[in-house]
């Protein structure tokens, strides 16, 4: 009986591993098709001509900031140097306790100006002052407000935005110089249907950074960042491109996403009662499209890159992953009514069920799977050493489980590296490749299991309903490592 029970568990974990990895293999195939099409058309995309065209939509870049004194000036300076014909940078200081605002006011020669910030979206915090830069194109606007959280700061930013498109970036994101040109292209190509567009987020740790720009892309040496590089490649670049190709993109990263302002106003802005406000916004957007019967598209563009600093120590990474998974849990609970509803199209029928089965529940399955493997290996060893003769574990099941869960995952990560090599080739040199291949292997030994444990904790936190905050991340600072 115990034998059958243990093996039934084993087969369950095998089936789960095969399904999750095969679904990712399908996404990888879709991403390949998308990259192939993208690379073939990029020569004729006429990005340079965008500057002179009358239909190029203006963009308001929203940078919510809370205690970002250390790097805010460099980040904003880099934003102002982006290549785009019509944009403004709106920094929303969410009641920082440090001198974030003063740094900006001094660096950009800002003066207090009574800019009207209409309350089109209700906000918890209120605007205390607005400042405009006297430098350059006067396109840097600082909005100071009382503390209300990141989503609240973004909502104030949406109210203050004076352009038809709104680009949300983290205060510590570094954008490629042409990032706005690329990410806004879908809006110009299909203005009636495209409502949101997201760019890819990559890990900047280890790369050379100068004046808020990534000047030379390198693999980091430290183990946590290097694993996150391949993890981001697989999950963000390949995974999201695949979902976008399928028409079921559920997440646009808060680090770099562009939305139509009128649509954000219709939606009432970002949810302030939810920790993953960026992902929640996109899910709510899909819900709104389905409920109103509008033909809208949420797209992912793999070329524009926002660089971000990945956590380098376990405590910060743990906090980040718990927060991410807590956010996902809250979102999927809040919008569970969309699941298997044909009116929400691919998102309701495929994406959300997939996210519930293979993202929300995955850490729990993985934690139990690891426990099962541990028990099985102990029993097998005990029998092999002649200490016992229980014969409770079918060794074949254990080997199949190890193959389908670990080896299959390594193959998928290597495939993601190959796609990167065939498409964007951001990393150069054999040394960096060797580090990436090593990271693809070591990701599956220890890192993944640790991650699963943290993520499971995030879900439990969400179900308990404990209080959450801005998610203040302690960073070393890009370019200062």
């Amino acid at each position: 009986m115990l034998f059958w029970g243990l093996n039934a568990f084993g087969w369950f974990f095998i089936a789960y591993a095969v399904l999750i990895n095969t679904s990712f293999l399908v996404l990888t195939g879709l991403a390949v098709a998308d990259f192939w099409a993208y690379l073939r058309r990029v020569d004729f995309a006429a990005y340079d001509e965008t500057f002179a065209e009358p239909l190029t939509p203006g963009i308001s870049i929203l940078m919510p900031a809370y205690n970002e004194s250390a790097g805010i000036v460099e980040s904003v300076a880099a934003m102002t140097a982006l290549r785009y014909p019509d944009f403004e940078v709106v920094v929303i200081d969410d009641g920082s306790k440090d001198d974030t605002s003063k740094q900006l006011i001094d660096a950009f020669d800002m003066v207090e100006v009574p800019i009207v910030v209409p309350v089109e979206i209700e906000t918890a915090g209120h605007v205390t002052a607005t400042y405009l830069s006297r430098r350059g194109n006067n396109n840097v606007l600082l909005v100071r407000k009382t503390n209300g959280g990141k989503a609240d700061a973004l909502n104030v930013g949406i109210n203050a935005a004076r352009k038809p498109l709104v680009c949300m970036v983290d205060a510590d994101s570094l954008l490629d110089p042409d990032a706005l040109l690329h990410v806004s292209r879908p809006f110009a190509d299909d203005p009636d249907r495209v409502v949101a567009s997201g760019g890819v987020v990559r890990v900047a740790n280890g790369s050379d950074i100068s004046r808020g720009r990534v000047t030379r892309v390198r693999m980091p040496n430290r183990w946590l960042p290097r694993i996150q590089v391949v993890e981001y490649l697989r999950a963000f670049l390949v995974g999201r491109t695949g979902w976008s190709r399928l028409g079921g993109l559920l997440i646009i990263s808060g680090a770099f996403g562009v939305f139509r302002k009128d649509v954000l106003l219709e939606l009432g802005g970002l949810a302030t009662d939810c920790i993953g406000e960026d992902a929640e916004l996109v899910v709510r957007l899909h819900r709104w499209l389905g409920d109103t019967g509008r033909d809208g598209r949420v797209v992912f563009v793999a070329e524009p890159v926002a660089w971000t600093e990945a956590p380098e120590d376990r405590a910060v990474l743990r906090k980040q992953r718990r927060r991410w998974h807590r956010g996902l849990t809250e979102i999927l609970s809040k919008h569970r009514g969309m699941v298997f509803r044909p009116r929400y199209g691919m998102v309701g029928l495929v994406s959300m069920p997939w996210f519930i089965a293979f993202e929300l529940l995955a850490p729990f399955v993985e934690v139990f799977g690891v426990a099962f493997l541990a028990v099985a290996l102990v029993l097998m060893s005990s029998d092999a050493l002649g200490l016992t003769d229980l014969q409770l574990v079918n060794q074949d099941v254990v080997w199949i489980l190890l193959s389908t869960s670990l080896l299959y995952a390594v193959v998928l990560t290597l495939a993601a590296l190959l796609i990167e090599e065939l498409s964007f080739r951001r990393y150069r040199g054999l040394r960096d490749l060797a580090i990436a291949v090593w990271a693809a292997l070591e990701e599956n030994i220890g890192y993944r299991q640790m991650n699963a444990w943290w993520r499971a904790g995030g879900s439990i936190e969400a179900w308990r309903g404990t209080k959450h905050d801005w998610g203040d991340m302690q960073r070393r600072g890009l370019g200062k490592t």
């Binding site: 020569d43 800019i115 110009a188 080997w399 190959l418 040199g429």
Partner: protein, 350 residues
């Protein structure tokens, strides 16, 4: 069962090893290839630049060198030359196009444009546009019906570079069939220049009598504004009153603003009372562009518009009207007036 385990293990291990080998092979191979290509490209680029901008004797030698190249040697020259054509102007541009034409680049581009591969068709259209030869128009017009969006887009852009106004109606047909081409068609109309204006006026007139497609109509109006076709102003003031085709009135207001036509002031002021806030915004901006200072007092009344974007657009328009506008702003209690004045001080001092 045991066999299955081994097959699975071996298959996955082999896949992993193959991927690793492929990764290292590709990285090494492509980096070597990149270095070689860079060296070759550098050499070809130098010869082309010398042919275009070198001293007369050097330039003659470089041109002779380029003319003698054939096969893959010429293909490399052609690839780089086509990449350079849009980036250079004047005599150098003409010399490069002449060189390309002398080596049969137009025929090669036409062959590419008829290829079965959509990428080659797009490349062919792109090259035909760069060469800007009017005898390519019929081939490019045919590509407007291509099943591949990439090809249609490149053909529209190429037609703009050729600049033959006969292409305007077919391009508008293309945008009716696929709105994603709007921006490209507008860019092509802009490149075609004033020669496209009569076609657009005829189109707008037809649109007013028999509405066809909102986007097409709006694009026609915007196109007239882009071309700065002052003679279209009376027609645009009529289309400004059109309420049957959503978007046409807004586009007409924008176009009238671009034209700066004084006769459009009264129709634009009437549009300021329209229920559509987008039209009020467009009309306010247009009034600012037209720059008739007499409208300042009437425009100031709209600073209290219930739609805040209209109030902001009105404040911006008043700023553009100079002193009468500034006076109107100073007299207004509207927060948008205060905002505009403060922004004005930041930008212009004082």
């Amino acid at each position: 069962m045991r066999t299955l385990v081994w097959v699975l293990l071996v298959a996955l291990l082999v896949a992993a090893v193959c991927l690793v080998v492929a990764l290292f092979g590709l990285r090494l191979g492509r980096e070597v290839a990149d270095r070689r290509r860079e060296t070759r490209h550098g050499e070809v680029r130098d010869v082309i630049l010398t042919a275009l901008m070198g001293e007369p004797d050097e330039a003659a030698r470089a041109r002779a060198d380029l003319r003698t190249r054939s096969g893959r040697g010429w293909d490399e020259v052609e690839d780089q030359a086509f990449a350079m054509v849009p980036k250079i102007k004047g005599d150098s541009h003409d010399a490069l196009v002449t060189l390309l034409l002398s080596k049969g680049a137009a025929a090669h581009a036409s062959t590419l444009a008829r290829s079965r591969s959509q990428v080659r068709r797009a490349r062919g259209a792109h090259r035909l546009g760069a060469l800007a030869q009017s005898d390519a128009v019929s081939l490019l017009l045919g590509l407007l019906h291509d099943h591949a969006f990439l090809v249609r887009r490149t053909a529209v852009r190429a037609l703009g570079q050729v600049g033959d106004p006969i292409a305007v109606p077919p391009m508008l047909d293309a945008v009716t069939a696929d709105p994603r081409l709007s921006r490209d068609v507008l860019a092509a109309i802009g490149r075609t220049g004033s020669a496209a204006a009569p076609m657009l006026r005829r189109e707008l007139l037809r649109t007013l009598s028999e509405p066809v497609d909102n986007r097409r109509a709006a694009l026609t109006a915007v196109g007239l504004g882009v071309l700065g076709d002052v003679s279209a102003a009376p027609l645009l003031t009529v289309s400004l009153e059109d309420r049957d085709q959503p978007g046409l009135a807004v586009a007409s207001a924008e176009a009238l603003g671009s034209l700066g036509a004084p006769e459009s002031v009264e129709p634009l002021l009437r549009a300021m009372a329209d229920a559509d806030p987008d039209l009020r915004v467009a009309a306010a901006r247009a009034l600012g562009s037209v720059g008739d200072v007499r409208v300042a007092p009437r425009l100031a009344g709209s600073l209290r518009d219930r739609h805040h974007l209209t109030s902001r657009a009105v404040a911006g328009a008043l700023l553009r009207l100079g002193d009468p506008g500034l006076l109107a702003l100073r007299a207004s209690p509207s927060p948008y007036a205060a905002e505009a004045l403060a922004v004005h001080r930041v930008r212009h001092g004082g």
